[in-house]
Symmetry: C2
DNA sequence: CGACGCGTTGAACATCCTCAAGAGAGGTGG
DNA sequence: CCACCTCTCTTGAGGATGTTCAACGCGTCG
């Protein structure tokens, strides 16, 4: 069942029939991971791993014992694009229980070499990842802790809501507070205090691995959240053809 | 003279003769820019702009009047890769006097569509850019102001030194202090104080658009600078075939 | 039971920001 | 030539923001 991969790639630009046929012929292994397990490590080569279920973090461990999280993957995300041509420069770890589908490294190499239109789609996916990273850089560099936190919660909710993975203002977010801290560049204690404030103010809460949005409008305003910042890298024509609402239903 | 473009792309993986021939047939316009001029703005399409001379910043202006700088381009860098398939999400501004060489947007589209091996090289370039951004994210999220500053100065010097653009511990760095502040996510005043400290400690100084490194070892230690973090995205085989020293000569 | 992970809180402190103001260099116009 | 800008660098003072250290409660698990 490579249909999920096809649907995922299709977000970055419509695939042709030949591309779909090619993808359907590729192998697909399905691997489950438990919370905290490493899905792949630095240095590994791409197998076009697709997160089919669950959430995962892209992160790097630092020499001083610290950690920086570069992004959070939701179902449908390709998580090892950074390893397309060379070994990955960071690792990906499962947040909750995950399912990852992957092809073989050999097949990826063949695809990249022989299927230009698929290579172009992968290139768009990489560009999208780079764009999302720039979005995070703005948060790390230029926003206060409450704004950063609110923005992250909005991003998590928004992306899962797009995939019909949110209901009644709730979605999965199986993290501990130190995960949020390492994503936002904050200390654990301060992250806790910011989260408590958001909870007390009735904006949102994270508990038992569930994110619950209580006041989307105020949360999005606090975090200066604009969903356009993380839309896939599509042609302008595609965007105009498929307009979307700018506000999540909570 | 597309040789500079050929040399630039060649860093990401050896080009074949056909690729070189193709690039030599592409048009090449040469445009000078003065300090502060915008080289291209958000929304523009890629023309495979190559910074041939001078330095430039990739940046985004924020709604609150702030600014975040995502990276600094040195000669040989492709500066509009983010606009390969869709409009750019940020702008690039000349720091000092610059020279930019570019082909036409039409030619870029043709190249991306019809020259798979060149597309692969561009994809590697995009991956390199994403990797550098992650490196900056670590700085923004997990390093103190002095470490961030020292790391930036090391990066600027190292990259120009690689290109033989540094001499006697000096290289061009035509910025004002607020540029450094917006790159590091610091306030102008605090940036000034950090720079003063680095100067007083005899590590490095920035004056009149020139960066002067006085004690590379201590500066690199303070900034936890590792040149591997910003090496182009090459195959492991290439790396092993061309080992390099890990320390700049100052 | 004890160990461990996680959330929680308080207190003291370091870092960094904002505001305000002045110095110096360079440009422009009278 | 001087007055008057503007831009940048510079410094001080006060305060907001975020960190570190230390501790405790709670639930889970061996």
């Amino acid at each position: 069942m490579n249909r999920l991969l096809i649907a995922s790639l299709n977000r970055f630009g419509p695939l042709g029939d030949a591309d779909r046929d090619y993808l359907l012929m590729c192998s697909q292994t399905i691997t489950p991971f438990e919370a905290g397990q490493r899905i792949f490590g630095a240095g590994e080569r791409s197998r076009l791993r697709l997160l089919a279920r669950g959430l995962a973090v892209k992160q790097r461990l630092l020499a001083d014992g610290g950690r920086q999280i570069f992004g959070i993957a939701v179902p449908g995300d390709l998580i090892d694009l950074c390893a397309l041509f060379v070994g990955a420069d960071h690792e990906v770890v499962a947040l909750g229980a995950c399912e990852v589908r992957a092809m073989s490294a050999r097949e990826v190499r063949s695809m990249v070499r022989d299927q230009p239109s698929l290579l172009a789609v992968l290139c768009r996916a990489v560009l999208t990842e780079a764009q999302t990273q720039r979005h995070w850089m703005v948060g790390l560099g230029r926003r206060t802790a409450p704004a950063r936190t609110a923005n992250l919660l909005c991003e998590i909710y928004w992306r899962q809501n797009t995939l019909q993975l949110a209901q009644d203002g709730r979605c999965a977010f199986p993290v501990v507070q130190s995960d949020i801290a390492d994503a936002l560049g904050l200390s654990l204690v301060h992250t806790h205090r910011v989260l408590r404030t958001l909870r007390e103010e009735g904006l949102a809460m994270v508990r038992h691995g569930v994110l619950e949005i209580q006041d989307w409008d105020r949360l999005a305003a606090l975090g200066a959240f604009h969903p356009d910042d993380l839309r896939p890298h599509q042609d302008l024509a595609d965007r105009l053809a498929a307009p979307r609402s700018t506000r999540a239903r909570v």
